[in-house]
């Protein structure tokens, strides 16, 4: 295998495996910038994956090859609905954010498999219409670079990178973003200025539901091609880690996701790549989690998260 081929495999797979992390970690950024800790991303992804798979199976005959894309949108919708559980608990009912998020993680796989049993009478189901590899028009014709970066690659991956920049713009350059951040830093002050703290926190959590739902749906539609209790195992937690690693910034989260996507993809396709073959895949799988602890311990400490992250806001009378 020549170098260009090897690089092409690495880049394409990195992008494919990063995509769910990018969407979900940006979702986490929106939630936590608004002050709501969201350890429930894993559960949100699970519901996104589950609902998109059901939607895909139900409508494959109607939408044809467009099915996976519409399924992803449906996953986003269900992700938001599921995340509203977290929102109502933490924003309105003063629940502990970690406990509430853990409830999402406990609930989602059980609910998913329960409904799968009800609907199909089986614990795992595969889809037929999947998102496959994709060639970038024109750019893939560029010699070498075109082959490495733009051929046999992932369209959702490129979309995810675009979404990261849009999310950055929304968060740091728009009125909505400023208000969302103010609600996460100092809700009292925001409230004094007439900003509806509860509404903005709801918005943050709902956005995390939409993006987490997309992340889970993309995992099912483009990577696993199925839903079972083992489809989403840890991707949500890696996304959480990517969010922290990326310092609660969409661009940072995207870059961290790419790094985590690289190590995840190497664990999967490493057997084909000389040099990587010798590293046991368990260590490549562990790498994102070890990175996170080391980076968190050495470089971030505790001072980076939004100030009021995890603090319930109780409006005084």
């Amino acid at each position: 295998m020549n170098l260009v081929n090897t690089l092409q495999i690495i880049v394409a797979n990195m992008l494919i495996y990063s995509t769910p992390f990018i969407f979900t970690s940006i979702g986490g950024v929106f939630s936590e910038r608004g002050g709501i800790v969201n350890v429930g991303l894993e559960g949100i992804m699970t519901m996104g994956a589950f609902s998109s798979v059901v939607f895909n199976l139900t409508t494959a005959s109607i939408f044809g090859s467009l099915t996976p894309w519409i399924s992803i949108l449906f996953g986003a919708l269900i992700g938001a609905v599921f995340a509203s559980l977290h929102a109502v608990a933490t924003v309105n009912f003063r629940a502990d954010h970690i406990v509430s998020g853990t409830v999402l993680n406990l609930m989602a796989p059980a609910l998913g498999v329960f409904l799968l049993q009800v609907l199909y009478n089986q614990g795992q189901i595969n889809i037929n219409e999947q998102i496959g590899y994709w060639d970038f028009p024109l750019l893939s014709k560029i010699p070498i670079i075109g082959q490495i970066f733009f051929s046999q690659t992932s369209l959702p991956g490129f979309l995810a990178i675009v979404v990261a920049f849009i999310a950055w713009y929304v968060l740091f350059k728009t009125r909505f973003g400023l208000r969302l951040r103010s609600v996460g830093e100092n809700p009292q002050a925001a409230d004094t200025l007439g900003i509806n703290v509860y509404a903005y926190r709801w918005a943050g959590v709902l956005l995390s539901g939409v993006l987490g739902g997309i992340g889970g749906a993309i995992y099912a539609q483009a990577i696993s091609g199925n839903f079972a209790v083992s489809t989403i195992v840890g991707q949500g937690f890696i996304s959480l880690a990517a969010m922290i690693f990326g310092k609660w910034n969409p661009i940072g989260a995207m870059l961290a996701s790419l790094l985590f996507g690289l190590s995840t993809s190497l664990a999967v396709v490493g057997g084909q790549i000389p040099g990587i073959k010798e590293i046991p895949s368990a260590f490549l799988q562990m790498a994102p989690y070890v990175f996170t602890i080391v980076v968190l311990a050495l470089f971030l400490g505790k001072a980076v998260a939004p100030k009021a992250d995890g603090v319930n806001y109780i409006k005084s009378k």
Binding site: V88, A110, V233
Partner: protein, 364 residues
């Protein structure tokens, strides 16, 4: 309504609400919840053997719940019970299988100690990072769960001697010999050959010890003080850092012991895991439901064991048993939003009092 009544009523209401929600879901999907719940309780408690299985399940749950409770009292969220339990399970199992001829009187304490030490080590990492560098223990324990999970797979595939693995597979070890097993003749024969084992007794001992630690010892006091207000405790001469590390060590040791009890009592060997151990998150649920108190944990542990052991019985009515996990999760949800229950409780009482007053007025 006084706060003690509330403390007892909130979990009871949460449990009832969870069951009602589960029933609603069952009705929506065309199942009969009464039959479902009936079969659940029958298969958990209907025979001597099923009672034995239910009690057996309680052991690891109590231990992981205690682990969560110790950390919680120090103001820490230990989400790493799954990993700590896994670390305890795999290391003690490796030892027991590598030295199968150690006599039982030595073997049992040795595997207990090894499991606790490695569990404690896994609690020590997030503890020391939190104490010295302020790193969030929530994130580190979640990350460690996965690190330990993947490392355990590596251990059984690449580090274990081939002669302790089952033939033709690298995914599970041979069964432990009788001198290492936590099962005893009298406990299983008492319950019609169930897997009930001394793990339950170990868990109950741990429960009593932790109750004493919380209420009677300096360590218990320091943990609670640091949990309530770390700055004030520092001022009063308690080292918050040392206490945080100590509580995570104890938490890890308890979860590690939970893994040993699960491994040597129920499983009898080590099996490569594809996801985090259930006993970790279930332990968290038990601790939250039990309000982190030893007595509460005992009752909550029993309830969760009934749910877990009885769930497969619902298949008699063609009900997917995962509904029980949905019920479990929603119980925790209702505990989490206890604010709303607490707000409604006194109101309900006031309304009743008002009604009573009205009735009295009518009579008069």
């Amino acid at each position: 309504m006084n706060s003690k009544m509330k403390k007892i009523l909130v979990p009871i209401i949460a449990v009832l609400a969870g069951f009602v929600l589960g029933a609603i879901i069952m009705v929506v999907f065309g199942y009969n919840p009464l039959w479902g719940y009936e079969d659940l309780f029958i298969s958990a408690l209907g025979s001597a053997r099923s009672i034995g299985e239910t009690l057996q399940t309680t052991g690891p749950l109590i231990l992981t719940a205690l682990s969560f409770a110790v950390a919680m009292k120090a103001g820490l969220f230990n989400i790493g019970m799954s990993g700590q339990a896994l670390a305890g399970w795999i290391t003690s199992m490796w030892f027991a299988l590598s030295f199968p001829d150690i006599p039982r009187v030595l073997m049992i304490p040795l595997v207990v100690i090894i499991g606790m030490v490695f569990g404690a080590l896994m609690g020590f990492i997030p503890g020391i990072l939190r104490a010295l560098l302020g790193t969030s223990e929530v994130i580190t324990t979640i990350m460690l769960n996965y690190i330990i999970l993947f490392f355990s797979t590596y251990m059984i595939h690449d580090m274990f001697q081939k002669n302790i693995l089952m033939e033709n597979t690298t995914d599970q070890t041979k069964l432990i010999s009788a001198n290492a097993s936590f099962r005893t003749g009298w406990m299983s024969s008492l319950t019609d050959n169930s897997t009930l084992n001394i793990g339950l007794i170990i868990a109950l001992i741990a429960l009593v010890i932790m109750a004493i630690v919380f209420s009677k010892t300096t360590l218990g006091f320091e943990i609670k003080a640091v949990g309530l207000n770390p700055d004030a405790s520092e001022y009063a001469g308690i080292s918050a850092k040392r206490t945080i590390i100590m509580s995570m060590l104890v938490a890890g040791a308890l979860a590690g012991l939970g893994g040993v009890v699960y491994g040597f009592g129920y499983m009898q060997n080590f099996v490569s895991q594809s996801a985090s151990l259930d006993i970790g998150f279930n332990g968290m649920a038990v601790a939250l439901l039990g309000g982190n108190s030893p007595v509460g944990i005992l009752f909550a542990g029993l309830l969760f064991s009934i749910l877990q052991t009885g769930a497969p019985g619902m298949m008699n009515d063609a009900i997917p048993p995962q509904i029980v996990q949905v019920v479990t999760a929603s119980i925790i949800f209702f505990i989490a939003v206890k604010f709303i229950i607490e707000v409604m409780l006194p109101k309900a009482k006031e309304i009743k009092a008002a009604e009573n007053a009205k009735k009295k007025g009518e009579k008069a």
